[in-house]
Amino acid sequence: MEQTALAPAHDAYDSHGTATGVTNAKLGMWIFLSSEFLLFGSFISAYLLYKGRSHTGPKPAQVYDIPFTSTTSFILLMSSLTMVLSLAAIQRGDHRRFRIWILATALFGLTFIGGQVYEFTNFFREQHLSLSTNLFGSTFFVLTGLHGAHVTAGIIWLLSLFGLSTQGRLAAGDSEKVEIAGLYWHFVDVIWIVIFTVIYLVPK
């Protein structure tokens, strides 16, 4: 009797066997990304809250190198493009192009991180700005450092996919794994779009 009553509900399930009709892995990634808004939002808010309230220098306008940061932002944007091209390639079963694009994405990410390391080093050595110098230093390094940590995790993920592909352990049927990694990567990119504008470009 109970089984009869449950039958229509089971019929509503799709081929992925979930009540939502989508795979748990993909839905889980979207929910995770949704929660990440709150994490990054708190650090961006902290930066804005303390902006202009430092009693000692250096101040943002004295340290930012907009042409340099614009270049690294451009590189991160391009990494999003190569990421979707890698997904398009593996969906078509083109493993050679997939490996080229996924490696290009990881290399763009590494270049972005390299730029961030250079920027941090420059701020510390030339501008004498550290985590404990003033409120600007604290909020800036924590926010951009948090983002850099996310990019680093993404690079490891991408290189893992590249490694799996070279070993022949990533088939076209595994495209969803690439798509989920791509979702994370694009999210890191959209967060940088916000950070670049709000932190670097908005008038000081």
Partner: protein, 140 residues
């Protein structure tokens, strides 16, 4: 479109790995599938953009970034309020382009868009309230 609505692919055939093929596409030919027969990913309602469309979106993103940087250098020439509005508008456009095209929110099931929008709107609302409460808009 509801989450349970059938895809334009019609009666999809499930192949190993969870991919759905449109009628007529052979799983054995995955390495040589015409663009209109690229397998649908789980949760995909309409086909993803083509690589050419991806590149075009990339070009738009680069142009917008260049415009943003240019506008930021107009400080002192035009009112700061106008600069901030222009920068925020371009930021939102870039954000939406990446989310809609690269993250496939425009072609995937609406449930993903709802979760993503919920998180974004909740975060913006929460922190706007917090910053307003702390009088950030009136300066130090």
């Amino acid at each position: 479109m509801s989450e349970t609505e059938t895809t334009p692919a019609g009666e999809a055939e499930v192949v190993p790995g969870g991919l759905e093929l449109r009628s007529g596409a052979e799983p054995a030919a995955l390495s040589d599938v015409p663009p209109e027969q690229v397998p649908l990913l789980p949760g995909e309602v309409r086909p993803h953009p083509t690589p050419f469309q991806y590149v075009m979106i990339g070009v738009v993103l680069v142009v917008l970034t260049a415009l943003e940087v240019t506008v930021s250098y107009l400080e002192g020439d035009i009112p700061n309020g106008l600069i901030i509005v222009l920068l925020l508008v371009m930021m939102v456009v870039k954000f939406v382009l990446v989310a809609a095209w690269y993250m496939h929110l425009r072609t995937d099931r609406p449930i993903f868009r709802r979760f993503f929008t919920l998180g974004a709107v909740a975060a913006v609302t929460l922190f706007m309230v917090v910053l307003t409460t702390l009088h950030i808009w009136t300066g130090p």
